[in-house]
Structures are given as structure tokens and as C-alpha cells.
């Protein structure tokens, strides 16, 4: 039973709404505490990678400078925003179509 609780507790991310439910268990469970320590260790090791900087390919600078387009003050986030809006629009479209189909079927029956 305890193992199942440990698995559930470990599947819940820190800071999520469900996390406080497992606080008491985490405080008492050595297995969960050890797991948390190992996760913090991974996180700490990863932060060390920030100082590791790779040398860019020699031609990068030249290629960038050779292909500079006209400066148009365009939003660099635009492609992402379009993608997010498209994703939401698709979701809403599917939901509306499903709803319309359900309502249409019900009205035909009655």
C-alpha cells in the first residue's frame, strides 16, 4: 500500500494542486525523501551545464550576415503565437462541430 502511495506521490509535480495532499506522506516516508533528494541532485547537475558553451560552426556568422533581410520590426514570437492560436481554434472548432452534430441528431430524433 505504502509503495502505491509513494508512486502516486512521486507522480505529482511539486507546486501542483494535488501536491499538498501528499505532504504528510512525504515528510514521513524515507523512500520518498530519498527520491526527492535524487531528483534535486539531477536538477543541480543540470544547472552545471549552463556554463558549458559550444563553439558555433565557423560559417554561422558569415551565413547570418549574408542573408540579413530588411529590418521590419516583426514580432519574433509571431510563428509561435500563430501556432498557439491555430491549436486553440482547431480545438474550439472540433468542440463546436461535435456539439452541433449532437444537437442536430437529437432534434432529428424528436
Amino acid at each position: 500500500m505504502s509503495r502505491i502511495i509513494c508512486k502516486i506521490a512521486n507522480a505529482v509535480p511539486d507546486g501542483s494542486r494535488l501536491a499538498p495532499l501528499f505532504d504528510r506522506h512525504r515528510e514521513q516516508c524515507l523512500r520518498c525523501q530519498a527520491d526527492a533528494v535524487r531528483l534535486r541532485g539531477v536538477s543541480r547537475d543540470l544547472s552545471g551545464l549552463e556554463t558549458e558553451i559550444l563553439a558555433a560552426p565557423g560559417g554561422l556568422h558569415t551565413q547570418v550576415m549574408a542573408t540579413l533581410p530588411i529590418q521590419d520590426a516583426s514580432n519574433p514570437r509571431r510563428p509561435l503565437l500563430i501556432r498557439v492560436v491555430a491549436r486553440w481554434a482547431t480545438g474550439i472548432g472540433v468542440a463546436v462541430a461535435t456539439l452541433a452534430a449532437i444537437i442536430g441528431r437529437r432534434s432529428r430524433r424528436s
Binding site: 551545464l49 556568422h61 529590418q71
Partner: protein, 186 residues
């Protein structure tokens, strides 16, 4: 040159680049090309990284007049790189399972550690890099931005176009997966 001189110098270059001075922008590209490329490698792997870095720097040039200096130029360039990598991720997905070429890191410049500590870190870092490469693109992006670059959950969510909760869940799963991969010796 002192850091203050460098900063003032950079401000002058930014002002010129915002006004369309390609030479000033070229100097900024020269200064930031390695950090932009490094982030790109971490997000999409070495094969696509040069393309992502190039596209990100071109987008930065186009957007330069919008740069208000609220964040450091390096941070702004990182955000653009993340956006670029994320929007090019369909192409990046092809490299999802590809192992990172260790030779890419042979010339890695570590500014923070001395040579005596570097040896100890090589093994740990190689393991981490290999583990990161095995994550899905979504998990990898969140883990790299949060744990490697120290972004907040809010910044990660905003830049990747995902919810705060999704960012947290992905991070948690990514950390657990990395830990398991490291414990299993990949």
C-alpha cells in the same frame, strides 16, 4: 576591457543595430553566436542546431527595432532561439532519437570551472547530455530552459505556448526520466 565598458559598448551596438546598422549587429552576432548555438544544440540536437541558430539570429535582426532593453540582449536572443527551435520542431522531431555526437562537445568552453574540476564533471555531463537527448522534444525544452538555464515556470510556459501546469508536469516527468536513465546507465 572592464565589464562596464563592455556593457556600454554593447548598448551602443544595440542602438546602432536597432537603427539598421548591419555591422553593429554583426558584432553582436559574433559575441552571442556560441550561446545561441549551444541552446539550439540542447533543444534540437547538433544536426539542426546551426539552422535554428541562423534563423534565430535573422529573426532577431528583423525584430531588433522592437527590442526595448527590458531584458538583457542575451536573454532576448535566447527567447527567440527557443521560439525558433519550437516552431521548427517538426523538423527537429526527426532527430528525436538521434544520439548526440560527443565530438560536438569536445571543444566545449567552460568558463566557470578550472581544469582540475573539469575532469570530474566530464562523466556526469556526458551522462546528462545523453539522457537529455532521449527525452521527447517537449520534455527536453522544459528541462533545458528550467534546469539548465534557470528560467521560471511562467517564462517557460509563455515561451513554449503551453500552460503553467503543463510546464510543471513536463518538468517533473523529464527529471524523473533523466534520473532513471542515469541510474540505468542509459
Amino acid at each position: 576591457m572592464t565589464s562596464r565598458r563592455v556593457q556600454e559598448d554593447e548598448q551602443a551596438l544595440i542602438s546602432l543595430a536597432k537603427g539598421g546598422d548591419a555591422d553593429a549587429f554583426g558584432e553582436l552576432v559574433w559575441r552571442y553566436r556560441d550561446t545561441v548555438y549551444t541552446l539550439a544544440v540542447r533543444l534540437v540536437g547538433p544536426d539542426l542546431a546551426a539552422d535554428v541558430a541562423q534563423e534565430a539570429l535573422i529573426r532577431a535582426w528583423r525584430a531588433m527595432p522592437r527590442f526595448r532593453g527590458e531584458a538583457a540582449l542575451g536573454t532576448w536572443l535566447h527567447r527567440i532561439t527557443v521560439n525558433t527551435a519550437w516552431t521548427m520542431r517538426k523538423r527537429a522531431a526527426r532527430f528525436e532519437t538521434q544520439q548526440l555526437d560527443e565530438s560536438v562537445f569536445d571543444g566545449a568552453i567552460d568558463h566557470a570551472t578550472g581544469p582540475e574540476k573539469a575532469g570530474e564533471m566530464i562523466e556526469v555531463r556526458a551522462g546528462l547530455r545523453a539522457a537529455i537527448e532521449q527525452l521527447s522534444p517537449g520534455q527536453r525544452a522544459v528541462l533545458v530552459l528550467r534546469d539548465v538555464y534557470g528560467w521560471s515556470h511562467a517564462e517557460v510556459a509563455r515561451e513554449l505556448g503551453i500552460t503553467h501546469t503543463t510546464a510543471k508536469v513536463r518538468l517533473h516527468r523529464a527529471r524523473k526520466r533523466v534520473r532513471v536513465l542515469l541510474e540505468e546507465g542509459l
